[in-house]
């Protein structure tokens, strides 16, 4: 398997080294290394229960690792205080597994939430930006609805619009297509590719959807029992002779 170039001329968007995390007796990560170059899209693959979601929470500082280093845009975030971490978070968009839209707020208000708090814009401009964001994910006509009134796929789209609100340079996706039918899942995959192309963001997608990863990922990392079992371009992984890798990619 070929080595990733790493340290591209723009540097790493995300650089994780020796990351360890346990919950009580359960070890989630035994020391993993991970790189996302600027503008690159990396899929972190693995069956359920391999701590993929934990990885994202570590990257955004919602949890702290037991050991190791996490650099976002070259800045070490392990041990960072809340205020400093919040500055880093403004540059990261996070799409949650179930979208995690605020269910007391309308679609419009959900997307406006980060805008209102971090950019001092006139109300007109907030509305205009919200409209543009919703348009970019094909949800412009649904702004007045509550999250409970739209489907799971639509919630994901709105979740993406909200994640893009502050124009982040890094996007994190937690199982973007889980719980969706194959057609809607494909639409979301395409939307991810489109977003990456248009915005030149670096993205890390945690998923067990191998077909999806083939669509949007430049690089795949397969986790197994708290370690990186294999990594490479998706084509490399497809050709892997390792029985576990072959089994996972075939099943997925």
């Amino acid at each position: 398997m070929k080595e990733k170039n790493g340290n591209g001329k723009n540097g790493d968007a995300i650089e994780v080294t020796g990351l360890k995390k346990s919950f009580g007796p359960q070890t989630v990560f035994k020391g993993i290394d991970l790189h996302v170059d600027t503008g690159e899209s990396v899929a972190v693959l693995g069956p359920s229960g391999t701590g993929k979601s934990v990885l994202l929470k570590l990257l955004i500082g919602l949890q702290q690792p037991d050991a190791g280093s996490i650099r976002i845009g070259g800045k070490e975030i392990v041990g960072l205080g809340t205020d400093a971490m919040n500055e880093v978070r403004k540059g990261i968009g996070f799409l949650f597994q179930q979208a995690a839209l605020y269910d007391s707020l309308t679609v419009d208000e959900n997307v406006a939430f980060p805008l209102r708090r971090h950019l001092h814009l006139a109300e007109d401009e907030v509305r205009e930006r919200v409209h543009k964001l919703l348009e970019s994910v094909g949800m412009a006509d649904h702004g007045h609805k509550l999250p409970s009134e739209i489907s799971g796929g639509m919630q994901k789209r709105v979740g993406l619009a909200r994640a893009l609100a502050l124009d982040p340079s890094i996007l994190l996706f937690d199982e973007p297509t889980s719980g969706l039918d194959p057609i809607t899942a494909r639409e979301i995959d395409d939307l991810i590719v489109e977003t990456q192309k248009q915005r030149h963001v670096s993205s890390l997608v945690v998923t067990h959807d191998v077909a999806g990863a083939h669509v949007f990922a430049d690089w795949g990392v397969l986790l197994h029992e708290g370690e990186v079992a294999a990594e490479g371009t998706m084509k490399d992984l497809d050709r892997s002779s390792d029985p576990y890798v072959a089994e996972f990619l075939k099943r997925g």
Binding site: K57, I60, L62, T82, N86, E87, R89, K90, I92, F94, F96, Q97, Q98, A100, L101, Y102, D103, S104, F113, P114, R117, H118, R162, L166
Partner: protein, 252 residues
Amino acid sequence: MLMTSVVEWFGELGQFTWKMLRTLLLPPFEFREFLRQLDAIGPKSVPLVMLAGGATGVVMSMQTRDSLVHLGAKGMLPAIIFYSMVKETGPIITALVVSGRVGAGIGAELGSMRVTEQIDAIEASAVNPYKYLAATRVAACILMLPLLTLVADASGFLMGWVADFIAEPISLRLFLDHATRNASLGDFLPPTFKTAVFGLIIGLIASFQGMRAHGGTEGVGRAATQSVVLCSLFVILADVILVRLIVLFFPS
């Protein structure tokens, strides 16, 4: 075992309170969310508080009247209802009813926000959930409890008069006159303002229990139940101390 978990609970509550208090000093104040909470806690509790206060007034009037007739002190009924309602029954009935309605509401709402990752989403958008969710609810409870108590007081007194009127017609003006002949603001203000402390307890404990919920829908149910139980319990315990302090500092 029980002792350690009680100590742990108080420790976590202390940390929670500290995190919330720190956010109060930093702008911006979440005014929109604060207004939404004022409405959810105040006006929407009015019917329940009126009913609870009114029913208590009727019962008190009927039972006390019976005893007073035996003692030949029927003329004291208005004053007894007034003092009893204003000094203790109104405040405690209001606090217990609000513990049930608002305690469960906040516990369940924040609990489900926690388990559906909405609170993580707030943090990921670099917004402090202690400020946005907890501080607004606690402040709204503190402000609304004394006002709701006035509603319960008035409703209880009025229904006490109605019950008395049915037994033996007496004008409301005369009834009120008898009731407040020797009353002063000193009788009225301390017991009403002590309910701000009840509001603090309800808002704080309900937000705390909600935000530490875990474990899916079952966890949400647990958060709501524990919230109601602990709010009611701590309101009653706090009342013992508050009444002692009022007797000490505002002797009649």
